[in-house]
């Protein structure tokens, strides 16, 4: 999805080119902002009512509910922006339970001084992302804080989806014998953010992998027996695997040579002394699939754009429950653990 787009409606005509505290007061300025910026971007029947809540028809069944906050800096980066991350991230959290994502909420905390143009870019991007994912943003909130009290823009979302009958996907469902699959190369998002902050260009044009994964998820479930799905965001693939091993009380054996990583991401990680296994992703999933279904599921994944590079990276075993063992690049052995905090660039 391209990040450059033409604004489909003109900038709101106000005296202000930037957000001021008044925009969060609940008075006329707020109403004007909602009417002239948020409504056109997210337009749908529920939102148009401008009630304090959205009342929705939901088919009977199990509801999946999720919430997330987005605080990324910079707001705009190759491959996306904070708005696109917010929509895709929420959609993906729902999709990882096998749920069909339906409705989103979006609460904005805006630092005074943010330009209206930037806010409009973000909301337009959310609108496009929501359409791509087949979800609607049905209710929201706006607060404005003084300069210095927020880093330009924070977005908090909640998402609701419906889990079809008979679907049971959870990090605790991993079983010995399962095949571990990843949907594509890891580390793109985290390295894109780092390089944008540092002002580094990649020759090949590296960009964030942010993408909605519900279509991929549905293709996988339709093709075989999927036990676990997780989208490895903060903490990367490594952290997700450790969490799943603990939740499911199984061991995981990972083949380091099988984990796909783009050359540029590898090079950036080398320079920083970081491990791609712990770098954030925003459009990838890791799955545990019954051995008998694995080939069918992989073929189905590769027919969907977000799963084009899906591959096996390891297997689930009964031994060393709770532990992830890595067969290293050179054939040695090491254990993958959850890192304490964010990786820091090393020089040692």
């Amino acid at each position: 999805m391209s990040t450059s787009f033409t604004l489909s409606c003109p900038l709101p005509v106000t005296r202000h080119k930037t957000i001021v505290l008044g925009h969060g007061s609940g008075g006329r300025l707020t109403a004007q902002l909602v009417r002239e910026l948020f409504l056109p971007a997210f337009d749908n029947p529920a939102l148009r009512k401008l009630d304090d809540q959205a009342v929705l028809n939901v088919a009977p069944g199990r509801i999946a509910l999720t919430t997330d906050s987005y605080v990324v800096t910079p707001l705009f980066f190759p491959g996306g922006d904070i708005g696109r991350l917010a929509v895709n991230g929420t959609v993906n959290d729902l999709a990882m339970s096998g749920a069909r994502p339906l409705y989103l909420t979006a609460a904005f905390i805006i630092e005074e001084g943010l330009t209206l143009e930037d806010l409009q870019r973000v909301t337009q991007s959310m609108s496009l992302s929501a359409a791509e994912a087949g979800v609607t943003i049905v209710t929201g909130d706006t607060k404005v804080v003084s300069r210095g009290c927020a880093d330009k823009l924070f977005i908090t979302t909640a998402g609701v989806g419906l889990v079809p009958d008979g679907i049971s996907i959870s990090a605790s469902n991993g079983r010995a014998g399962d095949v571990v699959i990843v949907s594509g190369p890891v580390g793109d998002h985290g390295i894109t953010i780092w390089s944008t902050r540092e002002g580094i260009d990649f020759a090949g044009g590296l960009k964030s992998d942010t993408a909605p994964l519900h279509a991929l998820m549905e293709a996988m479930i339709g093709a075989g027996d999927v036990h676990v799905l997780r989208d490895p965001t903060r903490g990367g693939l490594g952290t997700s695997l450790c969490e799943i091993a603990a939740s499911s009380s199984v061991g995981i054996e990972l083949d380091a040579n099988a984990v796909p990583v783009r050359e540029e991401v590898k090079a950036a990680c080398e320079i920083l002394g970081m491990d791609p296994l712990y770098v954030a992703n925003e459009g990838r999933l890791v799955a545990m699939v019954a051995e008998s279904s694995a080939e069918r599921v992989l073929r189905a994944m590769r027919r969907v754009p977000q799963g084009r590079d899906a591959c096996r990276i390891g297997r689930v075993v009964a031994e060393h429950a709770g532990m992830v063992l890595v067969k290293t690049e050179v054939g040695g052995s090491r254990i993958l653990d959850v890192p304490f905090a964010e990786q820091l660039p090393r020089i040692c």
Binding site: I200, A203, G204, L206, E263, A268, E270, G331, G332, C348
Partner: protein
Amino acid sequence: MCLAIPGKIVELEEKGCMRMGRIDYGGITRDACLEYIADPQIGEYVMVHVGFAISKVDAEEAARTYQYLAEMDQLEEIAVPEPSREIR
């Protein structure tokens, strides 16, 4: 304290009286100071540590020693033991 990465010199430039180079690490390029490299040439590889090239990579030496290793006979693959799961 020794994380140095090999990269290829793709551009030479002077910045603030220091000889600098644009180094390609295989998809990502960054500047490095080349003051400690005698007669740097575009296309040559250098080892870069904290933004400074500290030595050239001797391509011939690298090829020669790698070839020596490659030509060693290997009779059988060694069995790698797994970590023994004894929790302390």
